[in-house]
Assembly symmetry: D2
């Protein structure tokens, strides 16, 4: 193994730089390899200046930093790239050019740090003969085949701290505080942060909710003298029945393009005569310095990915199982995305301690 | 001085409990006074169970806690209280009842912890003979007569941390990140946090902005290879000319009831073809554990307020001047609210380092 | 199941209150049980006022708080209690009195939250017929039978933040910064925080070190222009050969009673002509608000312990396996304490990225 | 004004990089100046590669970072430099060489960021004709002529958080927790953090203490059922009478070279039969990301220093007065170092709320 490439794809997750650093150090110290970084996801293979050398100097000081020093793809899936040709938007497949670009780089291994989408592409490339190693990355924790991914713990701590802060002010002011959290398809952030931050209601994509159930919980609490409530809402939370969201005065409610269901829930509560405030944490959850756990996991993934490459374990992904680093087939990892189990121990625990999922 | 009352009014500010604790300890240790707390602002004087004894036990452990153990008023100004009489909402003045309630308590001093509104009322009560001492409280830093108030420093740190986190993810993704911060009339939080968090654009109520100026700045940066921008926006930021906010496709733009100008700015940027994301921090800025500075200032205010009461300095407010505790007439303190000086050193510094206020 | 008791034993771990809260809420909401708290560990059964009722009110607001509302034992092992009789210190066994105290309480289950020592005693009590359920607690992560315990993640974040802060100042000043961390017998905190905080040298009890190896690493770095080094040292780190620690000018070095090996290592480095500074974090690592993960795990443990009690699973301990809550026999859990595996993936990763364990 | 130099001297203070960034941006954006950085304090003028260009790129991303990108002096005072000549250590004056180095750089202004010592030298250089502008820097807050300096607020928050964490664990365990804080000559950190963190005893250099007074306070608390105490101790705290520190069993007590008085106090308390633990925060207080306030103040200092240079205000220092940026003569600023006023409002407040300074 003489030359390794690293690329990062998809949205940010705190810990990406820690993976890069560990991979570079392991490749150089342990295997005497050369390492290059591919900038802006797979597109770096198509771009001038898209490939940069990654020596020990390049990764100095990046362990505690959020984001990725390699930049993220901004042009979408290479298998279905939207481009303008003759004044018309058409969808083309640039994957062969990328494979060509990879071949020109004469890489003995390509570490791909990404979420579901990026890892799917990695597996496709592996089928075309690219020596790919996957490293799972998602703050939503929605990747199969691994117990947990880096970025998730950081997101949870940020969300939990926000809930803590809302708690004290909700208490003195008799309000329903709604905080909208990340999680388009998987509700892990809202579920875990909701439990850790003492939420009274948790709304997640996996458990459709009823608007009336929310108010029922808020009123039950008020009747017991608890005049405030705290709601942790996944951006992907959906009302039962779907379709129409919540009808106000006979009309469809406006859903802000850049806000979302959190705002709708807060407005609904206000319409029921209960004071409400909303916080939309947004990308604050994806940025900044990673927690100790995320750095630790990311570092172990980075070093393990290089060791796996050295063993020739291509078309596989490093993973965490029972707290230990292992690896599984990429195909298996991306086969089924992870979701909150509505019957699982975590949801049961939340219900045990009196949290409503808005479904009763 | 034998018996002191303490009440908190208006919105939360981290440090309220620290003031209460210091006042109680000083009154008991130093002056051998009895202390009572008035619950839910001035209304506690009208309510059964509205007055509670505050001994050393009652204030144990509250120093680091956000919110207020006394609760906040939820029924509005006693001079203009909205009530339902004969099925109609009418506005009545209940201040005489409150004065009566105060007299019945035989208080030698009443410490009033509050913002502009609450302190105005305190001054009115003083004119009716209530021995009032004011303690300034506002996370917006908009109270005159004092250099700074507690709560503001905590809000700044929360806002700055959010900007830090957005920074790293904006960098890797080529986006305009908008964060909407508190400040309906005064832009101190957005100004200071914007400078401390490395914002590129700061929009505050005191400096009306032009939508095109925002895009100009974003484009200038993109032209220099800085493909992301960070915007700190006061909830009270206003476009020049006011009135209509921003017209999209010939229509008035929808302004979310519980979101606000931050969302509008983000949607505008997206409409200009530049990817954008919005964070609405909301009440996260008002809650949770106070910073070291806010606890320190709050503790000094609490002790100084009791010492001022012992000296008979009624109808006055404790204040910070040149880093030292002093006191001024309540009437002066509430005469002119504090605003960001658009010509002042802070704004000049921000402009010096290249920050746009959207007004060029 | 009608009546449950809860006690906490041994040193603090952030999350104890979260376990208590979840157990109380689950017992009341789900099983309609009465819950009592036993104060000051097992001794509460012997003390007047040692048993207190734990209703929903009692656990309100304790989720984010460090410490334990039940207090910790301060009088040592009931099987080997040191007491003064006739002016002489003698060791007696008070366990029968405790069993008697437990019987008088007519508990259907006794949840014991504790570390190795406390859980050993719990198992002994179970053999005497007490319906005990164990909940593992240790910031050192040294309890067998579970992947992880609450408190550890919080300790890691505190230690990592300290390393981050030392990093920046070490860099500008050309110094060896030593930080002494908890871990008398197990080096997990120093190992994980060392990796997460970018340490250059990690000293842990499981891998005896040589003083010269430390200087070798520091000098190697200086030769490459890295004039500073960061050392994460377990309080239980031991030099190879043991016995004598480090001889200065022919004399035994003074080991501070309340400081420890971190100080000795720093003084050694200074004696070698290299500037050094020491930080002893001490109990800062055991206190304060738990991280999101620790609250989450603690809450799941608390609820699961009550469910286990309802199923009659006595003499067992709740545990985490593959990220899921399970339970194992107490006897097995306490049979072999957990230690860092010097040949394991974590140590290999640390070595891969260039960290020295002082053993080369 | 065409060319400005910037140097940092003395120990680290969070915010140094924020000053550098603001100065560089202001000089370039506002005055079209060239900026150079001098590495390793004044010594950079003597060293090959000691002068580096500082463009906008060089200061990108440094706002939130601790330490200083320019490095700190490691060779001591240029007026009294210790060197080895003919095998003997001699003290020489290299200041003329430094002045020569400065002249060669043809600087129109030299911004000196430093504490007492560094600013003294700056004033001496100004007397030799160097166009010096001082920027006060000290985490100890011991510089005269300015209300506050950057770095102090960060140190306070770190110290206060440590006290918070110790508080919860002290409470459950009946111990005296001692935390040793920075402050060799000035006790501001221990005083402010002690008040903000709820300490029971504060020991500072300005108020000599008696060992027996400490135990008196601890015992008084224990008598009231408060079985724990928290002590915030400046590293420069001194027992009354000075000289000998504390005699144990007739002998002088050993004072650890790299630990200090905090350890001695903790050992004393243990010798009195009261369990004690010690935390030595050390350089953790000087490093890492600055608080919002420190970034804000540092940014304002940096921009103001350049504006002052443009006005030709040499031999002066930027300062904070009544919350506004101003400037004063360097000579005045360094004439009298700032100390805690034992009769001042802050100490009185601390006593009011029951804190002991160990002097009763």
């Amino acid at each position: 193994m003489k030359r390794i490439g690293i690329l990062t794809g998809g949205g940010d997750a705190p810990g990406l730089n820690a993976v890069i650093r560990a991979a570079v150090k392991t490749a150089i110290n342990q295997f005497g390899c050369e390492v290059v970084g591919i900038r802006n996801g797979y597109d770096g293979f198509l771009e001038k200046d898209g490939i940069i050398p990654l020596g020990v100097e390049a990764v100095r000081g990046i362990l505690p930093r959020g984001g990725t020093i390699l930049g993220a793809a901004n042009r979408g899936n290479p298998y279905a790239r939207k481009v303008i040709r003759d004044g018309q938007e058409v969808t083309i497949d640039v994957s062969d050019e990328i494979v060509k670009g990879i071949r020109e780089q004469k890489l003995d291994a390509l570490l791909v740090l990404g979420g579901d989408g990026t890892l799917h592409i990695a597996h496709e490339l592996a089928r075309k003969g690219v020596p790919v190693i996957g490293v799972p990355k998602t703050i939503d924790n929605d990747i199969g085949g691994t117990e947990i991914t880096f970025g998730f713990d950081t997101a949870l701590n940020i969300a939990t701290e926000a809930l803590d802060r809302l708690h004290t002010t909700a208490e003195s002011h008799h309000r329903a505080m709604v905080v909208e959290l990340m999680g388009r398809d998987a509700g892990f952030i809202a579920l875990n942060a909701g439990v850790s931050g003492g939420a009274d209601v948790i709304l997640i994509p996996e458990i459709p909710f009823k608007f009336e159930s929310i108010m029922k919980k808020i009123r039950e609490r008020a009747d017991k003298g608890r005049k405030f409530s705290l709601l942790a809402v996944s951006e992907g939370a959906k009302p039962m029945g779907g379709g129409q969201v919540y009808s106000r005065k006979g009309d469809e409610v406006y859903v802000p393009r850049l806000g979302g269901i959190g705002q709708v829930v807060a407005e609904y509560i206000e319409d029921q005569g209960f004071e409400s405030r909303v916080t939309v944490l947004g990308h604050v959850q994806r940025g900044g310095t990673p927690t100790a756990f995320d750095r630790w996991l990311a570092t172990r993934y980075g070093a393990a990915a290089v060791r796996l490459a050295a063993r020739g374990g291509f078309d596989r992904m490093v993973a965490l199982a029972s707290g230990e680093i292992t690896d599984i087939e990429l195909a298996k990892a991306v086969a089924v995305p992870k979701r909150v189990n509505p019957e699982g121990d975590a949801v049961i625990t939340a219900r045990n301690i009196g949290i409503s999922f808005g479904d009763e």
